[in-house]
Symmetry: C2
DNA sequence: CAAACCCTGTTACCCGCGTAACTGACACTG
DNA sequence: CAGTGTCAGTTACGCGGGTAACAGGGTTTG
């Protein structure tokens, strides 16, 4: 049907970076809805500035695993550039995506739990990452009350979001859950031009379905339903273009 | 069918308290399965000792609300005695229980997120609670590295558990989810005698179904299915009696 | 003591969505 | 260029579980 879909081998990175850098504040939108991305933005101005930037940077390509279920290192990851999906995968291959992080966010707040990792992070495109041991992060926040509070805030926002998703999964149907996911994606990694907001990262329907917790086929039809109503569209490159306002109203 | 069910007006508190005090460590079981209660136990030895016990204690009776969705106070609650359910309730009345906490646990780690509460806590029976403002907790953990780490650990364990539940809700059927809930309940608030473990708090099927995220009717039949297999039973008082080993094996 | 209430147990209907199975459209590869 | 892989779109079928409705037993209240 549609044309111009970028597949994995295509490399849309250059054109993206300029976008994501452009509106790194996302300020105009984050005030409504499920707005945990506002936090990451606040946080970005603080802890990320404190972490010395002369640490060693690791680079991950699309689909490369940053950390895997079962790892034991207690390290935070600071995203210097790029997009990352955080999720898990069960023994029988079922995959679920918990969240998507972008430039400036931190990844793996879960590392503080004493146990082996139960989640994994995978790069959605070329990504630059700085790994910082938990101990050093603790050192830093222990000296600075604001940073301490914000670290806690990060964790609690993740928790609140997870609870939100539990609610959605328990009580909402697939379309509503999809709308929620799209709204969140739009706020987290969208760059808007007027009424429309285009996502700065390319996500397959499969990945979206793993965020919605539904079959890819169902998401496909649901996505087209929203498309016919003008709430969703594809850019010429295949990226999702959202009408956040209309999607917000759909949650009635 | 069964007889001797205590309903809300009945007051089974005295008989319970002796139990919950008896095995406050729960140590023998927490090493297997989803074991986030181990954390609470570790934690109990530390932060709870540091919080001065001469603070004012508030008492809540069964079904009284400790804090409600929308509240803005940023306070931790330390459970000095009793059982509490943490959950949420949507506008249209749908209720979901995130977790159950017992004597020695803390409640409302979510308060650290800067926003209004999205969750609520309700006493499952007579409960003694000490409220501590977030700021004071921060003061304390800032001076003590171990406490800081353990506070983070608490939050992350909650997060990990929430993610686990997302997985379960996405991929498991009702019976399996029920088994998971029962296992967790058994470890958190069970006191065992030999092979069997009796829950120290009375939960209605309605409440259990709100933990499983399913209809009460479905949970009822699922519970009876497990009962016919000898994995579950009711005590003469109507409390649940579990065979944790058998339940664990059910997750095959 | 009867009436009202709460909780558990159970059954029949029905729909949302998972399952399976294909099709069509690009985009790389040799 | 044919061959292969990936991803989006679509449909028929069937089942798990939500919905609704009711029964039975126990406890509480007047």
């Amino acid at each position: 049907m549609r044309i111009g879909l970028p597949n994995q081998k295509t490399d849309p990175r250059e054109s993206l970076m300029s976008h994501s850098q452009m509106d790194s504040t996302t300020g105009s939108v984050t005030s409504s809805g499920t707005l945990s991305s506002a936090l990451a933005t606040m946080f970005r101005g603080k802890l990320c500035d404190v972490i010395p930037w002369n640490r060693s940077v690791t680079i991950f390509e699309r689909d490369q695993v940053i950390y895997e279920v079962g790892d034991e290192y207690q390290t935070f990851f600071f995203l210097r550039k790029g997009f990352v999906k955080v999720g898990s995968i069960t023994e029988d291959g079922h995959e679920l995506i918990y969240d998507v992080r972008k430039t400036g966010d931190i990844v793996e707040e879960l590392c503080a739990s004493g146990q082996r990792r139960r989640d994994r992070a995978v790069a959605l495109e070329r990504t630059e990452v700085i790994a910082v041991p938990l101990g050093e992060v603790l050192d830093i926040v222990q000296k600075n009350r604001d940073l301490l509070q914000e670290l806690l805030q990060i964790c609690c926002e993740s928790l609140a979001d997870a609870y939100d998703r539990l609610n959605a999964l328990a009580f909402s149907d697939t379309v509503r859950r999809l709308v929620r996911v799209l709204l969140r994606l739009g706020m987290q990694l969208g760059h808007s031009s007027g009424q429309k907001t285009e996502l700065s990262a390319y996500l397959t329907q499969e990945e979206i379905s793993q965020m919605v917790a539904a079959r890819r086929e169902t998401v496909s039809t649901a996505l087209n339903l929203l498309r016919h109503r003008g709430m969703v569209d594809y850019s010429h490159r295949g990226y999702l273009v959202l009408d956040l306002q209309a999607l917000q109203n759909y949650t009635d």
